[in-house]
Amino acid sequence: MADVSLLSAPWRNAPLDQPIGWRCAAPLSQAAVSWSVLHGRIGAWQALLDSLAPQGQRWLLHLREPLEFAAALLACWERGDSVVLPADDRPETLTGVDRLTRGRLGDVAEGHRAGPDGGIPRWGTLDADALALSLYTSGSSGDPQRLDKCFAQLDAELSMHARLWPLEGRLVISQVSHQHIYGLLFAILRPLCERAPMATSLCRYPETLSDWLARLATMHHSASAGVSSDTLDAPPGAVLITAPPPLERLPRELDWQAAPQMLSHIHSSGAPLSQAASDGALEALGVPVSEIYGSSETGGIAWRIQQQNSCWTPLPGVEIRDDAQGTLWLRSPFLDSADWQRQADRISLETSGFRLLGRVDHILKVGGKRLSLTSMDRTLGTYPGVLGARTIALPERNTRLGAIVQLEPALIPQDHTTRRALTEALRQHLLETFESTVIPRYWRFVDAWPSNSQGKLAGAVVTQLFRDLQNRRVPRWLGVEFEGDERCRVTLEVPERLIYLQGHFDAKPVVPGVVIVQWAIELAREHLGLKGEFQGLERVKFPRLLCPGDRVELLLFLAPDPPRGERNVKLAFTLKGRQATHASGKALFSSSGDR
């Protein structure tokens, strides 16, 4: 096998007529992009850099096109420069990187781009201990951490990948950003070192993947049937570099016939893949998913194929252990230290590897992006009128967040229009710091912080606040205040997706009166311990319509009802909006059935 070490710079003496890029949507005769073209691009980038500054610089580099990104990166390295890869191209992110760098390169505002004319590249030296690049912890967190990687670190990891999952000339198709460590290693540096072609654009959608694989399979058929006389053969197969979001949303109905034949490996990283998504991908694509667990700081730590072993197996050379708290400790050739390092993940060790039990801190992954909930809470807290905020990962909705926000009374939305305006304003406020995929989708606005007797926001309260998401028959519960044992005031909102509003498409949707009565009874059972069998209603009135998005207070008062018998009770309820009363009445209960 050829030397694939990053330190030996395999791109310098690559066979110039062989492909390093592959235009997946083009016909066979136009699909290959040869190494000589890449060398020309490296030369073009070096000419640009020479015109900007003497060597030894750091540059901000952001470029979506994989091959052009590779050319710019190698141009910098071979010139003796290093790069900083911003996590995304939002203005705030780029501004944060600017102070570290000489200038911006690539497809961003004020980014320099190399001209069309190629040139002969100059090769320099890659020193094992020299800084190759800096990147940021994945996704968006309020305090992004910069991480420096030297050539030796990158090389150790790339060599291990090449031994474990050799590319052998297969086409690398990526669905992930190479501004992050996983995409950078798997989709850019591995093809460059192992001399395997990379798709010239990112494969964002499943339809694109299905199409590319089908085209590749067709090229093989026509080649084996002797139809094609082209000098360049199609790659012998493909490797897919992907992540949980695309794999969890893989349409089965697409034509995946070519997938088992063409794909040799599927890699997923960024967050653990659910068992269902792993099985689904195997079923649709015919190839098991090899997941990699790691982080920007540590590089790869472990891997698994869930159908073979649901536990994680440490990657070759990586040592792991746990401590009394179950925290993961790591000793790895991909770290810059030879000592054991404590990690933020909790694990349980098993005979066949280890399981991940979650983070020690308030960091979590949302749609594969790492997010500091603490920093999001802090940012929400800076919005005028916000008195407190807590962002929550909702168990049933692992890609979307909920937020509990305490507001000054005047700011509390009272109806659909004002609530939408407020959530939009908060979204815009968060978008200045966070990427759109991590912004909370479920908002709960409260006037008092919903804490338990220890002053903590208990799990049970969180469940209450978001229970209307699981059950489309109940109102949105936003808190309860007691006045003695028999009297309480429950704050509610009418969910827009309430099931009882359906079937009213043409008319203005309203909550039927019978549903309001049902809510009053259920909430009295929950909060006031109402027991007994329903006997009837008295003096029920619905003076004002209750509409989706309306915020109301439900006053419940439970009293004995001696005229109807010793142990009978009467529930008085009043449903009030800020403007007017929506409903009032009394419900009668007998205590015969002790429920």
């Binding site: 959608y205 339809e207 199409d211 349409p251 109905e253 697409l254 659909h416 989706p548 998005g549």
Partner: protein, 87 residues
């Protein structure tokens, strides 16, 4: 008929993406669905593609940009469904 389909699509969007405070009236047929307007994101684009496939049997183009052009607003989405539904 176009109105009925657009209303149906509004419900599909709200239900598929579990948008809790959006009503059909909030979705303007000409306003962008993504980023501004409704504020949908890249994960929503994947979900929506999946739902169109399940509900109407619609296969989207392999060309990412081309296929997602139909997702620009409700009007273009309805046109896509009208043209390609197989049920």
């Amino acid at each position: 008929m176009a109105d009925a389909l657009e209303l149906e699509l509004k419900h599909l969007i709200i239900d598929t993406l579990e948008l809790e405070d959006v009503t059909p009236e909030d979705i303007d047929r000409e306003e962008p669905l993504f980023v501004e307007g409704l504020g949908l994101d890249s994960i929503d684009a994947l979900e929506l593609g999946l739902a169109l496939q399940k509900t109407y049997g619609i296969k989207l183009e392999a060309d990412s940009e081309e296929s997602r052009r139909h997702f620009a607003n409700l009007k273009s989405l309805a046109a896509l469904v009208e043209e390609r539904r197989v049920d």
